[in-house]
Structure formats: structure tokens, C-alpha cells
């Protein structure tokens, strides 16, 4: 008898619908108005690579040790350097990073002994050409500059 009433009056259906309507509360609205509000990503987010610069003297922190290139599974970092006779150290000349093949695994960032190479929180890396995805030293130091929109 109870089963009959449960079947005829769609009790299980009402129970399910109640859960659905309970969650319709406007306070649960989740939509982010991109691109006016950009999503906040975590501090450790592995996004666009950046070559850090020493804030005091404006020189690059990279010591051209090539550890990042060796660590990369895809071999997409090319570091060239020349020896500076005055200080008898290697100095970085060019640094090429191919973001089109990068899987943002973070192995290069882990390998860098001086924290020069870092994966930042930038995730807008799109480019109109394939060549635009291959970043040279300047692009790496400045970072991608996505257009900022005002709503």
C-alpha cells in the first residue's frame, strides 16, 4: 500500500527535485566574468616561464649552467652563453624556450639552482603564430602581457 502511494505520487521524484531546487540558491552562483575578472590561481601555479632579474642591479640571475635544459623532458630549452674574461664566469647570451611544446611540468624550475627560471601564474599564453610561442630572452624576462579589459 505504501509502495503504491510512493509510486503514484512520485515520492522519489519529488525527493530528487527537492535536492535540485535546494541548490538553486543565488548565493551559489559561480560564474566569473572573464575577462573583466581574471581567475585567481594558486601561488605555486605552473604557468608561463619567467627569467628573473636581480632587483638590485637589474642583471639576470641566470648563471647559464644549463641544468634546466638538461632536466627538460622535451628538450625545448636552449641556453647559450659566453665566457666573460673579466669576471671569468659564464654570462648568459640567449635563452630560448619553446612554450608550444612545453607541458609545464616544472622540472626546469625545480632544477634551477639560483631560482632564475620560474613558472609564474600567467596562463594566457596564446599567440597568433607558431613562432610567437617560441620565447626568447626578452619575452621571458618581461612575460606575456595579456590585454587588460575593463568592464
Amino acid at each position: 500500500m505504501k509502495k503504491f502511494f510512493r509510486a503514484v505520487f512520485f515520492v522519489d521524484l519529488i525527493q530528487g527535485l527537492w535536492v535540485t531546487f535546494r541548490n538553486q540558491n543565488p548565493k551559489y552562483i559561480y560564474t566569473e566574468q572573464y575577462p573583466a575578472e581574471r581567475p585567481k590561481v594558486a601561488e605555486r601555479y605552473r604557468g608561463a616561464p619567467r627569467l628573473n632579474i636581480n632587483p638590485e642591479n637589474g642583471e639576470t640571475l641566470c648563471i647559464a649552467c644549463n641544468l634546466c635544459a638538461l632536466a627538460c623532458p622535451e628538450n625545448l630549452i636552449v641556453v647559450t652563453s659566453e665566457r666573460n674574461e673579466a669576471t671569468r664566469r659564464k654570462e648568459l647570451t640567449t635563452f630560448t624556450y619553446d612554450t608550444s611544446r612545453c607541458m609545464f611540468c616544472g622540472l626546469c624550475e625545480d632544477a634551477c639552482p639560483v631560482d632564475a627560471l620560474e613558472l609564474t601564474q600567467d596562463f594566457e599564453l596564446a599567440s597568433y603564430t607558431r613562432e610567437g610561442a617560441i620565447w626568447d630572452r626578452q619575452m621571458l624576462e618581461e612575460g606575456p602581457k595579456p590585454t587588460q579589459y575593463k568592464c
Partner: protein, 369 residues
């Protein structure tokens, strides 16, 4: 002049092609039908074959670590755990206790995330559109924890050989506990939506029965095996990474049909929350592990397997004492579970094929590697 024989039912071959919303990836199933009843199937896979095992032979052990996440991309942390455990066994190192407890927490969160995605997509295949949003809303919380921890949501690359790379961030324990507290009532919500829903029950009960004998013959593991009544879980049978310290149950069911697999996975989510709560309380302090500078294991081979959300995920690594593995073989649970599809759909309807593919919880990244 119509030939009377055209009304006879003959075998119809229908292609459930690689582009199909319900096949959970690029899976092609060639169905042989008699009307709407399925006589047999032939699965064509390989559309997502990327040659991961070949890539492994050309990378060093540490460099291969990010690639394993891409196989079962839904639950990437487990893949990483299996690989790291296998290489650590070859090297005869063990991760320090702090790393082990953290690995357990992340792996169990990963199991919940995988089951949530399974529930959402399975319900969507059956026709229930609401659960997928709720499941993804909860999954979002887990992915936020992953992102806060290692910087990526899906392809986490969370573990390293020898332990962890990243120290736990401030607020990790609180966030995990808050998630657990938030999550259990949500599981009740999903059950309220689905468990006694007459449509759900009639779509799922009695469909795709695979009993214990057949499971063992086909080598099927994971929730499918447990739903058939075999109380076997690698976390209890051959514990790894400190699982013996935690108190949890292994949910099983009797019939081995789709409805039982659903209830087993729901119970597993609850048990995972139990494990996370226990683990979060006992994170020891200490080092998080250090990958050896040069990973060059001695010549040898080892097979290590873990209980991934989909089944037994095993890594068979052959080393020849160089920095690159000689052969890495991944034993993919989805590949082997998918073999049982043929047996499970016999005699069912086409709609049941969709339900059964959903209940096997396959991820084509793992099937094809």
C-alpha cells in the same frame, strides 16, 4: 515486389564511433545487433595511443615522471604514485614518513575526484543531468587543493622519486579537513538523487552482470571486482606507502551488476574521506625526501602495483643500470577491464551498452597509453 524475407531479423552491425558523447573518450565499439539486442561487440581502440612506453625508453627516470600523469588523466596522482613507488623499489629507497602520509592524502583525494567524475559522467550517460554539475562542483574543491599544493589541477606531477618536491603549504590540513566536512553530506545528496530513484534502479539493476569467477578470468580488478563480491583491495592485501596504518573498510556487493558497482564506488568515496581524516591528523614532521642526483638503478626488473581508482595499476620497469629505463610497461586497469565489455553486454540492449561502458570507468588515456 517486396521480398518477405526482409522482415526477418538479421544481424545488424552498428558502429558506435570514436566520436560519441558516451564512450568516455575515443572508443569505437562495433555492435552486432539483432533488433535492439546486442549479440556481440568488437572494441576498436588505439585512437589515443601516444607511445608512452616507447617514450619512456628515451627519457631519464625523472624526466618520465610528468608523462605518466597523462595516461589516466582523470586521476593523475595515482599514476605518479605507482611510478615513483616502482622506481623507488628499484633503487631500494623509501620515501620518508612525512612524504608517505602526504602521498596517501593526495592519492585518496584523487580517488574521490576520479569517482566524482565517474559518477557525473555515468549519470549523464544514463540521462540524469543534475549530478554532473554537483560532482564537478565538489571536484573543483579537490582540484583547488591540488593546485595549491603542486601548481596544476589535472596533470599534477605531484610526486618525485624519493619523496615529494613541494613542501606542504600553510593551510593544507585545514583545507583537507574542511573538504572532508563539506563532502560527506554531499555524498548523501547524490545518494538521495540517485539510489532509490526508480529510473536509476531500473536502468542499472541487472545490467552488465559480471560475477566473481568471470572477473578473475578476465583479470578485472577494482570496484568491478569488489562489486562481484570479492573483498580484495591492494591497499589491504599488499599495502604500500603506509596504508596499513589506516583503518578503513573495503566495500563489496553481491550481484556484480551495474547498480552494485555504483554503490561500491559511493561507499569507496566515504571510505576515502575516512582515510583522509585519519591521515591529516597524523602528518609527521620531517624531511619530504630527496631525489638522488643521478637515478641509475642496478640492472633488474620489478613489478609494483597500486590500487588506482580504476583497478590494479602496475608498473613493470626493467633497468639496465643506465639513467634511462630499458623498458617500462604499464599494466592499465582500464584496458583489461574493457576486455570484459564483450561478456557483459551480451543479451542486453543498446542503451545498456552505454551504461556498461560507463560503469567500467574507463579512461581512454589509460587504455591506449
Amino acid at each position: 515486389m517486396a521480398d518477405a524475407t526482409f522482415l526477418d531479423s538479421t544481424e545488424l552491425v552498428l558502429n558506435m564511433g570514436p566520436q560519441h558523447p558516451s564512450t568516455h573518450g575515443v572508443l569505437r565499439v562495433i555492435l552486432k545487433l539483432d533488433g535492439e539486442k546486442v549479440l556481440g561487440t568488437d572494441c576498436v581502440i588505439g585512437y589515443l595511443h601516444r607511445g608512452v612506453e616507447k617514450i619512456a625508453e628515451n627519457r631519464t627516470y625523472q624526466q618520465f615522471n610528468p608523462y605518466v600523469d597523462r595516461m589516466d588523466y582523470v586521476a593523475a596522482v595515482s599514476n605518479g604514485l605507482g611510478y615513483c613507488l616502482a622506481v623507488e623499489k628499484l633503487l631500494n629507497v623509501e620515501a620518508p614518513p612525512r612524504a608517505q602520509v602526504t602521498r596517501v592524502i593526495l592519492t585518496e583525494l584523487n580517488r574521490i575526484a576520479s569517482h566524482l567524475l565517474w559518477l557525473g559522467t555515468h549519470a549523464l550517460d544514463i540521462g540524469a543531468i543534475t549530478p554532473v554539475f554537483y560532482c564537478f562542483r565538489e571536484r573543483e574543491e579537490i582540484l583547488k587543493i591540488f593546485e595549491n599544493y603542486c601548481g596544476a589541477r589535472l596533470t599534477t606531477h605531484a610526486f618525485r622519486i624519493g619523496g615529494l618536491q613541494y613542501e606542504l603549504y600553510d593551510g593544507f590540513e585545514e583545507q583537507c579537513k574542511a573538504f572532508c566536512d563539506m563532502f560527506l553530506p554531499k555524498v548523501d545528496e547524490y545518494e538521495e538523487l540517485l539510489t532509490s530513484n526508480r529510473i536509476w534502479v531500473s536502468r542499472l539493476k541487472g545490467v552488465g552482470i559480471l560475477n566473481a569467477e568471470e572477473c578473475k578470468e578476465y583479470g578485472v580488478t577494482g570496484p568491478v571486482l569488489r562489486a562481484a563480491g570479492v573483498k580484495w583491495d591492494l591497499r589491504k592485501a599488499q599495502p604500500y606507502s603506509g596504508y596499513e596504518q589506516y583503518d578503513f573498510d573495503i566495500p563489496t556487493a553481491q550481484n556484480g551488476d551495474t547498480y552494485d558497482r555504483y554503490s561500491v564506488r559511493m561507499q569507496e568515496m566515504r571510505q576515502s574521506v575516512r582515510i583522509i581524516r585519519q591521515a591529516v591528523d597524523k602528518i609527521p614532521s620531517g624531511p619530504i625526501g630527496k631525489t638522488p642526483k643521478v637515478v641509475k638503478p642496478a640492472t633488474g626488473e620489478v613489478y609494483v602495483s597500486i590500487e588506482a581508482p580504476k583497478g590494479e595499476l602496475g608498473y613493470f620497469i626493467v633497468s639496465d643500470n643506465s639513467t634511462q629505463p630499458y623498458r617500462v610497461r604499464v599494466r592499465p586497469p582500464s584496458f583489461i577491464n574493457l576486455q570484459a565489455l564483450d561478456r557483459m553486454v551480451r543479451g542486453g540492449l543498446v542503451a545498456d551498452v552505454v551504461a556498461i561502458i560507463g560503469t567500467l570507468d574507463i579512461v581512454l588515456g589509460e587504455v591506449d597509453r
